[in-house]
């Protein structure tokens, strides 16, 4: 746990000192990220052998001090985030994007971003979650604005403003909750909210829950507060797009998954019904928004929205099977979405444009074709890739609950996803390029970009092949989220009923 929390900020500091030596900086960055992966793996192993790993900052007793908790939901996500960080610092070494030189700030910021994402996954305190969100916001919008072009400045300004509004709403929710209950540790809050009768019987708690919900919804890109996402995610260099697309919205989804199972359980409340409808609309609007786009990264940005819809749909359905499906979907989606942005970046470099109408003939690059094809089919949910099992888990849970509308919509949206992906495949890969029949050469240092592409494509295949054990694991995580006793005992001691 301490390794995961200490390595990234230390690396960021060291990398800033190395700012005049770009090559050394890139190498040290890679080593640092690899160390983080090892620490995250260690945490995961501890978590599955010993049980919950709890870190109490400064040994302050629970309602006062800040605690960090690694359970079987957080630990796998921390490992995936570290892996994505590793692929990102590798990808950054290839010269994918034309334009301004790589800034010295890129590597330190990537470490800080991964740090904040891991922190948000691990924290067991609501205000601490706010602080991690702010670190994430800071590092991500500097990454967005870094190259300083027109589109980047516009995109990052919109991104910054909507996220500051989200932070203010989050803070108001925290203030209301503290005013009512006098605690901010999630486990303590869970007991107190249950004692007060939940959000149905106490309007101020309901207001606080609504504030938190709105803030997380903006972070996750739910309907109707998603417009910042397709306006900003496609503007920065490909590696930054991929990192943000893979990790940021999923932190919002994770925060919902944590707070709205532990503190404010959704089943049977007005918030649960609201979330279900919003999930439907998010899925549909995202996938239809993608259908009319002609730039690969914009298509992918809209698909983030529809995929987030699947995850919150699973949360809204409730029940161990559905929550397990949400966890599986989170893991699958981080891997696949990052990889599709990597592929889009390389495609842009080899065709000189991100517009599908200017691209073509990419099937000549067999490695790129393999990476793209596996990831896109996985996103659309074709067996035996990870996306199939993630979608299957959600649809099966919906059918199990007799919710045929949700199940039908999930299948329909999957079909439209396949449409968008085959559009990219046909336009950019199978059709010859309109301007010239020869692809541009592979960018300098291309191995650093192709290795993560193929590595992550391999990972989605492996997740698909290991679906059986993973399915059992995520379903038991879902049961744990639903039951809450294990989490409360780990944090508050064994006297929890």
């Amino acid at each position: 746990m301490t390794g995961v929390l200490l390595i990234p900020p230390l690396m960021a500091a060291i990398l800033m000192l190395l700012r005049h030596r770009p090559l050394l900086q890139a190498r040290v960055s890679l080593v640092g990220m690899a160390a983080l992966v090892v620490a995250a793996l260690q945490l995961l192993i501890d978590c599955f052998t010993v049980g919950h790993v709890v870190l109490t900052a400064g040994a302050w007793p629970v309602p006062i001090g800040i605690i960090m908790v690694a359970d079987r939901l957080a630990a796998p996500l921390v490992l995936i985030a570290a892996l994505i960080g590793l692929t990102a610092v590798s990808y950054a070494r290839a010269v994918i994007d034309s334009g301004p030189e790589t800034s010295w700030a890129l590597h330190p910021l990537v470490h800080l971003l991964v740090w904040s994402v891991c922190g948000a996954f691990l924290t067991g305190d609501l205000f601490n979650l706010f602080v991690w969100f702010e670190i994430m916001l800071m590092s991500s919008f500097v990454l967005l604005a870094m190259d300083g072009g027109r589109a980047q400045l516009e995109g990052s300004f919109k991104y910054l403003m909507i996220n500051l509004v989200a932070s203010a709403i989050f803070l108001i929710g925290i203030g209301l909750l503290y005013g009512q209950l006098g605690a901010l540790t999630l486990a303590t809050l869970a007991q107190m909210v249950a004692a007060k009768g939940g959000i149905e019987s106490n309007p101020i708690l309901g207001g606080a829950a609504a504030c938190l919900f709105t803030a997380f919804a903006i972070k996750a890109g739910l309907f109707p507060v998603f417009a910042w996402l397709p306006a900003s995610y496609h503007t920065p260099r490909s590696m930054v797009s991929a990192l943000l697309a893979g990790l940021l919205t999923k932190v919002g989804v994770y925060a919902m998954l944590r707070v709205f199972t532990l503190v404010f359980p959704l089943p049977g409340t007005w918030l649960g019904s609201l979330l279900l409808v919003l999930a439907w609309l998010t899925m549909i609007v995202g996938v239809l928004g993608a259908a009319v786009q002609w730039e690969a990264k914009r298509i992918l940005a809209f698909h983030i929205i529809s995929q987030v819809g699947y995850m919150v749909l699973a949360l809204a359905l409730g029940g161990a099977a559905a929550l397990g499906g949400a966890v599986l979907y989170l893991i699958h989606h981080i891997v696949v979405k990052t990889n599709l942005f990597y592929a889009a970046g390389i495609a842009q470099a080899r065709c000189g444009s991100d517009d599908l109408r200017q691209q073509g003939g990419l099937a000549g690059d067999r490695l790129l074709l393999a990476g793209f094809l596996i990831s896109s089919l996985s996103l659309a949910g074709l067996p035996p890739l990870s996306g199939f099992f993630a979608k299957l888990a959600v649809v099966r849970a919906a059918v199990g609950l007799g919710d045929w509308i949700s199940a039908g919509l999930a299948l329909l949206v999957g079909f439209f996803t396949l449409y968008s992906m085959s559009k990219i495949l046909l336009e950019s890969y199978l059709r010859p390029r309109p301007s010239s029949s020869i692809l541009l050469p592979r960018p300098p240092g291309w191995g650093w970009a192709y290795a993560p592409l193929l590595g992550l494509a391999g990972l989605t295949v492996v997740i698909g092949l290991c679906a059986g054990p993973l399915w059992v694991m995520t379903e038991s995580v879902g049961a744990e989220l639903l039951d809450r006793t294990a989490y409360l005992r780990a944090v508050l001691g064994s006297d929890v009923p």
């Binding site: 302050w60 007793p61 006062i64 205000f127 706010f130 602080v131 702010e134 916001l137 800071m138 919008f141 500097v142 604005a145 300083g148 072009g149 027109r150 589109a151 980047q152 400045l153 516009e154 995109g155 990052s156 300004f157 919109k158 910054l160 403003m161 500051l164 509004v165 932070s167 203010a168 709403i169 803070l171 108001i172 925290i174 203030g175 209301l176 503290y178 005013g179 006098g182 901010l184 397709p230 306006a231 900003s232 496609h234 503007t235 928004g289 009319v292 786009q293 002609w294 914009r298 109408r357 309109p434």
Partner: protein, 123 residues
């Protein structure tokens, strides 16, 4: 006193939202600033306003009776510092964007948005 501060919060949030709806750059940034001040005040009054003594803890690490609650003060200090830092960056970014884009009329900033009309000239 709590009522007065609640009213101040209401005024801050109202003005913040009103400014957010402006077309121009600077009012929007100021609107977000007012909104975050409002949020900070909510956290500040969360512990309840009392005439109790300053916040110190006893030997057991818990707040003694008759003392005010130190936690909201710690929270609001953190939140103020964060919002100050972010606001400094927001102003720098706004200024840079204004210099590069050449105007501060936000509705015209559509270069990064998806196009409104689907292009007709497909192949």
């Amino acid at each position: 006193m709590s009522t007065l501060i609640s009213l101040v919060v209401a005024v801050l949030v109202t003005c913040g939202v009103r400014l957010l709806l402006e077309r121009r750059l600077l009012p929007v940034v100021l609107g977000v600033a007012l909104l975050s001040h409002g949020a900070n005040l909510v956290v500040f009054v969360a512990g309840g306003l009392t005439h109790a003594g300053p916040a110190f803890t006893g030997a057991d690490g818990l707040v003694e009776a008759g003392r005010s609650d130190p936690v909201p003060q710690a929270l609001v200090l953190t939140a103020i510092v964060i919002s100050f830092g972010v606001m400094a960056f927001a102003l720098a970014l706004a200024f840079r964007a204004y210099r590069v884009l050449g105007n501060d009329d936000l509705p015209t900033w559509r270069g990064s948005e998806p196009p409104i009309d689907a292009p007709e000239d497909h192949r």
